[in-house]
Symmetry: C2
Subunit: 342 residues, 2 copies
DNA sequence: TTGTACGCGTTATCAA
DNA sequence: TTGATAACGCGTACAA
């Protein structure tokens, strides 16, 4: 420690005014003389004063910190969301604490507790894929600390939710495959306990029925979408069948890329033998051979929306409509992996 | 707010002891009777007591928070590093504040200031690619707040650094291409003001000279490694040359994947016409056609190392050796994009 | 082994 | 428009 930390008392002493006035001046309090304010600010910058957040937090009982818990950071979608959140939240003077659940309920619970103990003013969560029990959020709800869920939400929790229309996206993806002439569309997806996967699945089924294609349960596979799981499902099951599917709708781009690799190795031609649609518009979908048709997720926009809602709430506005649901639009991006017709 | 927040005074009152004893008991102070401790802990859990970090921080003049500034979150490497850091840091009772510079010096400066004002106990930084001036870290150094640089470091700053041996990695990658019969090896990389790119470049040159291949400056291209830049360099320059290179060492996997796509579209065969080696072992390198040979970066290990060093320092140990440099090993992962010989 | 008393830096309250 | 004072919850020197 070289220079001692400057406090409002130091400023007050030098300016021959009270610490109260300094505090008010620093906060641009309307009742303070403009000249006094200027003197305060000038000296503050001169001496390198910085407000002590802990004293302030202690006094105000507020932390100006927002917690974020996500399953994983390593997707373009997640980092776009975070980027959006961070932008808004920073401008509003809040800090961000980020942690990952690595798709595990246990880690999610621990993280939630940590956030609680850090007294975040608000929490933003995208659920781990295997979270079944939501009691770890009860402490927040009890204390009226706002929790916003996004993307992977819990239907049963009363709280604001921000997500895309997964049903519509699933519908669009499936309909696109049908329009490309696919009749036997395989759907590989995650745990349907999670809304995102369930809704996409429902969209898939609706598109089939709207086009008079009967739903075939053997064409539905639910696993954890890891490389291993996708490989298992394809090699040990699908590729051993007598009748192979001619379309694949798989609900994330990395998995789509794995699937593509495996199918090509098995000698299938994409899109001629099997057309593929992924989900997320991650970088990876652009560089495979062929590039993968996918659903574009508005990550940044979603992040900004989440942050705005939360901050409005924290700043005391918009309190009434707090248990709302915001649904964002998605867009189908057609690439070579599914184009069989011009 | 439903339940009022419990403080050590509440506990003290109920147990008919002083707040001091409660405070000590909670901290497992040796001088406190075991039975008293037990009574304190039991009541604390019963009432849902949680320590107020702000009061504690205020009192201790320590925040138990560590700041991390990285260029971007969206690579497997970065999320592995963060994951490693988070693990160690959490176990040691610290919190993590993460922010992204998006490769911009200005944003990096702002983030640094925010971290400073949040009074982080330590800072972990990987520099933005265009950062030239490091004065924003001076405030930390002046106040003796430890700053650890990793991966993208600043040679000129006196402080602990954790990184891989980029020189060796560059050497290995290049040598591998030479062994596969390449003679005209194109090297596309980032801003060589940054150590990671400069060192890989030096490794590249050394490998060439050790194998008696003269260094050809026209085979060296430095850009920002974005999709656009890679495309420009290849389409508007390299592919128009009379003599095409027969090897490409490009220092990140996304760029390698872009390059691969572009070269294939231009009618070149990989690895027959041109063999490719990337860098990072990101997911993307596994799913391209062909899969890309790359350098595996020990992200997790790096993260854990960084965190351990920092925490040891903060806890008062290892103070002497604080300006050390830790270098981790890398490994070449050979895939189809470079294999021309068996 | 336990308790008293004070201070960390800020802000809310009340008074001037 | 400004000031005096107390309080936020905790940790610690000193005392017992």
């Amino acid at each position: 420690m070289q220079d001692k930390e400057i406090t409002i008392y130091d400023l007050a002493e030098r300016l021959n005014i009270s610490a109260t006035t300094v505090s008010r001046g620093l906060q641009d309090h309307p009742a303070i003389n403009k000249k006094t304010k200027k003197r305060i600010f000038d000296l503050a910058t001169e001496l390198g004063y910085r407000s002590n957040k802990f004293a302030s937090n202690l006094r105000k009982q507020k932390t100006n910190t927002i917690g974020v818990i996500v399953p994983r950071l390593n997707s373009l979608f997640m980092s776009s969301v975070l980027s959006g959140i961070e932008k808004i939240v920073n401008n509003a003077g809040y800090n961000l604490i980020i942690s990952q659940s690595f798709e595990q309920e246990a880690k999610e619970k621990t993280n939630t507790t940590t956030m609680f103990n850090s007294r975040v003013d608000g929490l933003i969560v995208s659920l781990a894929s295997d979270t079944q029990d939501f009691s770890h959020f009860d402490t927040f709800i009890k204390k009226n600390i706002p929790v916003i869920f996004f993307d992977r939400i819990a239907e049963s929790i009363q709280s604001t939710k921000v997500l895309i229309d997964n049903f519509k996206a699933g519908y669009k993806a499936t309909e696109h495959l049908i329009e490309q002439g696919c009749k036997e569309i395989l759907h590989i997806t995650g745990n349907t306990a999670r809304n995102v996967y369930m809704d996409r699945f429902e969209g898939y089924k609706k598109a089939l029925s709207d086009h008079n294609i009967p739903y075939d349960p053997t064409l539905f596979i639910s696993n954890d979408l890891t490389e291993q799981a996708v490989q298992d499902s394809l090699l040990n099951d699908v590729l051993k069948r007598d009748k192979l599917p001619d379309g694949l709708f798989i609900t994330n781009d990395s998995s789509a890329a794995f699937a593509l690799t495996i199918l090509k190795e098995a000698g299938l031609k994409v899109p001629e033998d099997i057309a593929i649609v992924g989900f997320n518009n991650d970088l990876i979908s652009k560089v495979t051979e062929p590039a993968i048709t996918t659903i574009n997720y508005p990550g940044n926009e979603m992040g900004e929306n989440i942050a705005r809602i939360l901050i409005n709430h924290l700043d005391g506005e918009g309190d009434l409509s707090f248990t709302s649901t915001v649904i964002l639009n998605t867009e189908l991006i057609v690439r070579a992996s599914s184009q069989r017709k011009k």
